[in-house]
């Protein structure tokens, strides 16, 4: 029963979020822009460069593309979760919802699920679209096939991205008890997404020779993973501990 009530809340949130133009456009742009950028970053150099130059470009751009795709997939979570919590309060629909027999756990899971379901779907579909798109471009141009994502990229997309997604929502739960307007919530939760800048930039910045070492890619992916886990666990623990109907209602 607990699960189904959370799912009810999540589905209602998704339905309401999809009525908002801003959220709808953010979903469309994320779903389209992520794969397009990825295809451009990975397939583009193959069409232009050859030999060692190509290998260097691929070594730099593959982790960057995976992190970028993950980032684009997680961005809509800030909007969906902000609307699910702060937006409901702004619309005055939160009070009757808080008067129902939903427990705090059911309510928070519901609010989390709405973002996880949509962004999870975008993540999977964007990854598939990128893989197929890159393969299609390369095969069409008669070039050697490159499988995207590679193993570190898959780790980024399948492990780190869902944890960051979770962290975004739990941060939003904390923020929702402190801000009054949706746009304030967007701005504050968006900062977590900067985690993806680590695997994008760090392997390049921290390779003095200019040659990206695969072990460095793994290391920075793992640093991102650890950071995401710490943020997700801490924010989730704080969110659960601090969440109370009193502060949500007192801000009305």
């Amino acid at each position: 029963m607990a699960q189904s009530k959370s799912m009810l809340v999540a589905l209602a949130d998704i339905r309401m979020a999809l009525k908002l133009k801003m959220v709808k456009w953010s979903l469309v742009l994320s779903a389209a822009f992520g794969p397009l950028m990825t295809i451009g970053l990975v397939a583009g150099p193959v069409l232009v460069f050859t030999g060692p130059e190509l290998n260097l470009m691929i070594a730099i751009l593959m982790p960057m593309a995976a992190a970028m795709l993950a980032m684009f997939s997680v961005i809509p979570a800030t909007m969906i979760s902000a609307n699910a919590l702060v937006g409901e309060r702004e619309q005055s629909t939160l009070e009757p919802l808080l008067c129902t027999p939903l427990t705090d756990r059911e309510l928070l899971w519901g609010k989390t699920l709405s973002s996880v379901l949509i962004c999870g779907a975008i993540l999977v579909l964007s990854t598939l679209a990128s893989t197929i798109g890159i393969a299609a471009v390369l095969l069409g141009a008669g070039k050697q096939l490159i499988i995207f994502p590679d193993l570190p990229g898959l780790f980024m997309l399948a492990v780190v991205a869902p944890i960051v997604l979770f962290a975004v929502v739990s941060l939003m739960i904390i923020i929702s008890g402190k801000v009054q307007r949706v746009y304030e919530a967007y701005q504050m939760s968006g900062a977590i997404i900067l985690i993806f800048m680590i695997p994008m930039m760090a392997p390049i910045i921290f390779s003095p020779s200019g040659v990206v070492d695969p072990s460095m890619i793994w290391m920075w992916n793992f640093v991102s993973f650890l950071l995401a886990v710490v943020i997700a666990v801490v924010t989730w623990a704080i969110a659960f501990k601090q969440f109370n109907r009193d502060s949500m209602v007192s801000l009305v």
Binding site: K5, L8, A12, M16, C99, P101, R245, D246
Partner: protein, 313 residues
């Protein structure tokens, strides 16, 4: 034993005392009205009772459950119409979807959901609008829909904040009738916040007047009058010269005050049981044609204003 019992219920917002040691007992199956000016603490009381807020001090029991120890159980047995209920619906969902969503959240059995929604929407004359988005309905219709939502799971206790605000007189009358019939038929307990004094007087068994977070007076209208030692007024309706009737009335030493209406006088009399007949004889002897001589019901509005002006302290 009361269905709602508050024990020293208090709520502070920072330095502001929104509610200060409030004790209320609402018997099961009764309709209780909480009256007070804006900012008096009415909505805070409702929000504490439906567990939206936590008390700073004291507690309350709704049905069998304490609001601090068993908030989920309290929410299961209460139906709530929040302040400005018409604005609390999901505007992008249809009237039917709004009710269906809450029916599921309140664990209404699946096989009963459609029947209950149809029954309530039909009663509130909204069945024809069931497929319209709530955001497209008029304020009055949204208020009715919000009321349907509060009634949907047949709660033991209904906490209604201004239930007939934004309703036209006909719809307001239907809602009042509904409240009375539900209280009688299903023994449901109603806790109503209202500014509408005549409405409260018509439907509430008991009334409390609250101001600055404190209950100033509680009881039935008659009890309030007694507590305030309000003077009984008498209405004397006359045919003919009202001014003459007034001057003769005023000439009696036991008459304390006289107010003149179109064809009647409203009079307060010292020791009325002793002096009423003397006044009537005096008027008749002076040739005043008396059509009616009756006790005037003290209106709740008079009592309310008297309490807020310090009479209740």
């Amino acid at each position: 034993m009361g269905e709602i019992v508050t024990d020293q219920l208090s709520k502070r917002f920072g330095k502001l005392k929104a509610l200060d040691h409030v004790d209320i007992v609402v018997p099961k199956g009764s309709v209780f009205g909480l009256l007070g000016p804006n900012g008096a603490g009415k909505s805070t009381t409702t929000r504490l009772l439906c567990t939206l807020l936590k008390p700073s001090f004291g507690t309350a029991r709704v049905g069998e459950y304490d609001i601090i120890e068993n908030p989920v159980k309290v929410r299961e047995i209460t139906g709530v119409l929040p302040e400005e209920g018409s604005h609390t619906l999901y505007p992008g969902m249809t009237a039917y979807q709004n009710l269906e969503y809450f029916a599921k959240l309140y664990d209404v059995p699946d096989e009963e959901i459609h029947e209950r929604i149809e029954e309530l929407l039909t009663f509130m004359e909204l069945w024809e609008r069931k497929d319209d988005n709530a955001g497209e309905l008029s304020t009055g219709n949204r208020q009715r829909l919000a009321l349907c939502r509060a009634l949907l799971h047949r709660p033991e206790v209904l906490l209604l904040d201004e239930p007939t605000s934004a309703l036209d007189p006909v719809a307001a009358k239907r809602v009042r009738e509904l409240i009375l019939s539900l209280a009688k038929k299903y023994n449901q307990t109603f806790f109503i916040n209202s500014h509408n004094l005549s409405e409260v007087q018509r439907i509430c068994d008991r009334i409390a007047i609250i101001d600055k977070g404190q209950i100033l007076l509680t009881g039935t209208t008659a009890e309030l009058r007694e507590q305030l030692h309000a003077k009984q007024e008498y209405m004397i309706r006359v045919a003919g010269d009202i001014e003459k009737a007034k001057s003769i009335t005023e000439s009696h030493h036991f008459v304390e005050s006289v107010k003149v209406g179109v064809d009647s006088l409203i009079v307060t009399i010292d020791d009325p049981y002793e002096n009423n007949s003397q006044l009537m004889q005096g008027l008749l002897a002076a040739g005043v044609n008396i059509i009616e001589f009756a006790e005037e019901e003290a209106s709740l509005e008079d009592l309310y204003l008297e309490v807020l002006n310090g009479g209740g302290n």
